[in-house]
Symmetry: C2
DNA sequence: ATCTAATGTTGACATCGTAAACATAACTCT
DNA sequence: AGAGTTATGTTTACGATGTCAACATTAGAT
């Protein structure tokens, strides 16, 4: 667990930016977004409370970096699932990612950070979604219907993830199934139709 | 615009709790959740910064009251839609509610408040969802399949609402349609199957 | 009318985000 | 190698916030 830092640093840290993102990521996942303050992050990285400002213009910029990391990981998980199990696996992977990293997922989609305002974040996020809807649209060879269906599919997994995360689904509904099986069954209860009136 | 208050109150306000909820609601919808502080709420209600503590144990309790109001309104909108246009209308109403009250919706589902910890909130929320899934389950006369499908339907509208709110849907995908029409088409691109493998 | 509980107010404290001024190390150019 | 410049940390300071404790005022019950 000990990240072996090669040299003992005095004034200049060496790679503060990465260290800050790491500290912040830990706080986020273990204590939640509310507990994630710039000052605490600095404390854990062993620097003064204002050092982060050399690397992040404001608190939101740090959050944006964490969100970006999240989109990258989600994208990777999606690609991996696409290879192994196709579309259905991608949907399941989406939901499982959210359930395994709820705080991260909330940061990514909770609307606390303005995605549009952070360039790199925006690019990565866009790319991730393009992969998702591209995979779906490729299966339904009709222009608008396919696009609508791919958005419906995305909305479905996205909504299911959030409802599960928020404990909004009564345990009775799970009916004894494991979460993974439950997700599979729910997703399987849906059919996408290209041109529906 | 002037809420005509009958009497000029000196020390005791008369109905501070309601006034606070009103002020807070205004801040929430106009300036967003981040701008919603206890102190600002008190200021707008014309009382000292600590007066709210006589009515709300903590900030989160005020937020919970706002969320509860939201669930009540969502539930009402759902019931109304159910009468007029059946299931499909309920789905559309759900999404439209979210788009018309994005900040409120975020508060209700953003995970900032622990729903379970606030009794009244929990009850109202549960009741609202029971109405939703009940309406759906009634249409598919098979136990588990129906339940899964009803959750899928809910997830679908929920996810679509959040994606639209977060501007995560490229305008190209809307293809010139009005938002309402777009929602209708996307929802229409999905079929629910009771027992799917 | 008096006592008590409810409701508001004042003052205080720790924490936070952020800005400005300062300190130190690293890099560049000669 | 030495001087000047830039990047990176630190200190100090300010206003805002949530919350606590002590106090003030009023409404209701006796």
């Amino acid at each position: 667990m000990s990240t072996s830092r090669p040299k003992k640093r005095s004034y200049h840290h060496g790679d503060l930016e990465a260290a800050l993102i790491r500290s912040a990521g830990n706080i986020l996942e273990k204590e939640g977004l509310e507990a994630l303050s710039l000052r605490e992050t600095a404390r854990r990285a062993g620097v003064s409370h204002n050092a982060p400002y050399r690397h992040f213009a404001e608190r939101e910029a740090l959050l944006a970096a964490l969100a970006r990391e999240g989109f990258e990981r989600l994208g990777a998980a999606q690609r991996e699932a696409a290879d192994k199990g196709g579309l259905r696996a991608m949907g399941e992977a989406y939901v499982l990612f959210a359930l395994e990293h709820p705080q991260r997922f909330r940061l990514m989609f909770g609307g606390q950070i303005s995605i549009a305002r952070h360039e790199k974040l925006r690019d990565v996020a866009t790319k991730t979604f393009a992969g998702l809807s591209g995979a779906l649209a490729a299966r339904v060879p009709e222009a608008q219907g396919a696009r609508d269906a791919s958005i419906a599919a995305w909305a479905l997994v996205h909504g299911l993830a959030l409802l599960l995360m928020g404990d909004r689904i009564a345990s009775a509904a799970m009916n004894g199934r494991e979460r993974k099986a439950f997700v599979r069954d729910v997703l399987a209860s849906v059919r996408f139709a290209a041109g529906a009136a």
